[in-house]
Symmetry: C2
Subunit: 411 residues, 2 copies
């Protein structure tokens, strides 16, 4: 056992120790979140159906950093830390599984990452759009019913997305906005203009969760998260077999990760359209910190609370430039036609003070962060499949071919 | 053939004649809408899966006014009017059926009533909530894809509900609101606070349809309809076998129809809570007129347009008083515990000028309207099942019994 764990175990005495289920705990963020919460002294259960790994098979792509099977990495975590993780293998769209899991684990809080989370995936064709909305909405509905029936005091921490808001021409607030109209004033849900069937599914979830809090007195925090970058956390760094995913492909890869891969393999950094699309971003380590802050400061009974979970905003063009500046070799930025339907230049100013008020100390995107990302990519450069980077899903079409040989049967 | 039809056929020369599919064309509003559009000279196809009739079997209730089978009443319509209706029997959640229907009928416009439309039904339990959201959202997604793939110029006229807005403390506008915030201004989707899993499904639809208009250039009109009363229309009156449904039960019955039944059978008129709940209302004949106005004045390519479709607002208490005043016998108003979670007294002022601007001349709720409703009920008073009127579905519970013997297996 490592030295830092003694300190961690001491800290367990100081803070509340919670029983926490992490849904989607085998995924990019779910896995490091589960480890982080475990290390911080909580009893953690991991729930997953492995569909994220199945998407890789469907698309013929793979995480750049190799990841081990869940059961194996849970064992490694116990060897490294002395801490156990419970595992529950099943699907949230199965209401019996959801209810049984809550009955067996008796969580005090649930962190819900278990949704199809790729905008391009949801835009492949009708089948993928329907799959994404049914999977995400029904899974969350089953969860809300199970919480209401088993124990309404369970705090639900649900991952939403900053993409729910779209790009309005006014400041984005955290979930709600005070509107004065014809001499009267009310605070109402912030209007949503999501940009894909995936983002829409999160808007549907938000409305459903808010309603469940109202009628059943549930307590929920909706974390409208920005785009996450990074791959290494304090816990995954302890053993190579604890690594989490790193996606760079055109469907699941996020923009900064993709630029780093393009730089390392000597491809031009492909900016969609003008590159003025501005988005909230955060370091993977801040995701873990934000989730923990939400858990340790739960919503009240009946409260539906929204935090905007990002630390800085950048345009796509700025991100490409930062990668180009920090890569030691030669790089070139290329503008490709935007496969999405979105504004390529727009106003963007979004509030994100609630997590700072709870004590978040952000890891900002500094040259050293980009260089450590580039180092991760460089270690695995032989695993890069350049063909996987190309954007294949076109928003303006109703059906896109992933690759000539793709067989679409994920749902 | 009746004399008025000659006049109608002359009018066909003056107005555009459209090929119109009416989805849910066997239902309470879908059927009279199909007849009305047929009489006005359009080529009409009726699509239905008869699930509305199945809900009656599930709940052990029936329309107060007997209704005949679709194939029979289509035949009667042809005998009475000389006009044909095409029929397509199938389910919108089956994408092959949706696509084949559009291929065969080649509609220029589609009126979409084909959703589970009862708030209490969606609140029975988890299964009914999930059924309602999946049925409504997936049916509409399949339709959007089929329109985009077959013919994006098809005008979609979709039934939404005034219940999508909830009861904000500011004026409700028609779909969008101009917001000035921190010195900047934008026109954004009106914030939604729906009050049941059914109403939520319509909010999800609205977001999905708006997005499809944006990315594929579809044209759509969302009719946010109030609560409809009445049962007789110019077309259904032509033959008893053309009658449409009249629901008074605790799950599918709407409030004014229910009060009329309670008056006729000598039960107290049951007002939920204080009865200050105020809602937009309209006469069934105005539903037909509004749908026709939307069809004859289509949305532009890429436009998502919202009309608030109601003519007057009343509180539940006012409606009960109107029925009591107009019923010749003795009636009593009783306040029962509100099974819903809603504000029992609130501000309510909602815009509804867009359909008036297109030429709507409303049938207002006058004593003669209530008396003709009471006369409909009186003709069928022997068919009333008093046990069916009782509100059985409790919003605060996660599962309600419809009746002791109810077998819930509708989905």
């Amino acid at each position: 056992m490592l030295g830092w764990l003694d300190g961690a175990q001491e800290r367990q005495e100081e803070v509340a120790r919670l029983r926490i289920l992490v849904l989607g705990g085998d995924g990019y963020l779910g896995w490091p979140t589960a480890l982080h919460l475990s290390r911080r002294g909580h009893d953690v259960g991991v729930v997953d159906n492995f569909v994220r790994r199945q998407y890789d098979h469907e698309m013929g792509v793979d995480s750049l950093v190799p990841i081990t099977q869940l059961q194996h990495r849970v064992r490694i975590w116990e060897e490294v830390s002395g801490l156990k993780l419970d595992t529950f293998i099943g699907d949230l769209t199965d209401p019996v599984f959801v209810d049984n899991t809550l009955e067996r684990f008796e969580p005090e809080a649930i962190v819900h990452f278990a949704e199809q989370r790729s905008a391009p995936y949801s835009m492949i064709d009708r089948q993928h759009a329907v799959y994404t909305q049914v999977n995400n909405v029904v899974g969350t509905l089953n969860l809300l019913y199970a919480i209401a029936e088993r124990d309404p005091s369970i705090h639900l921490v649900k991952l939403g997305t900053m993409g729910e808001y779209g790009t309005p021409n006014i400041d984005i607030e955290e979930g709600f906005i005070e509107i004065t109209h014809k001499g009267r004033t009310d605070t109402l849900p912030y209007p949503k203009q999501p940009g894909s069937f995936y983002h829409l599914s999160k808007v549907h979830d938000s409305h459903n969760i808010q309603f469940a809090c109202r009628i059943w007195g549930l307590r929920a925090t909706d974390l409208n998260q920005g785009i996450v970058y990074g791959q290494e956390t304090g816990e995954t760094d302890l053993h190579p077999d604890l690594a989490t995913r790193f996606d760079y492909d055109g469907v699941f890869g996020t923009v900064l990760n993709r630029f780093c891969v393009q730089a390392v393999v000597g491809h031009p950094l492909s900016v969609y359209g003008k590159g003025g699309q501005t988005r909230g971003m955060l370091d993977i380590r801040d995701t873990l910190a934000c989730v923990e802050l939400a858990l340790m400061n739960p919503a009240d009974k009946g409260e539906f609370r929204v935090f905007n979970q990002f630390t800085e905003s950048f345009s796509v063009r700025q991100m490409a430039e930062m990668v180009a500046e920090n890569y030691p070799g030669a790089t070139r930025i290329e503008h490709v036609e935007d496969p999405r339907v979105e504004k390529e230049e727009h106003y963007y100013r979004a509030a994100h003070t609630k997590l700072l008020d709870l004590g978040l100390v952000p890891h900002l995107l500094e040259p050293s962060t980009i260089r450590s990302l580039l180092a991760v990519v460089d270690r695995h450069r032989d695993r890069v499949d350049p063909a996987a980077i190309r954007p294949t899903v076109q928003w303006r079409r109703t059906a896109s071919e992933l690759r000539p040989t793709a067989d679409i049967n994920a749902s």
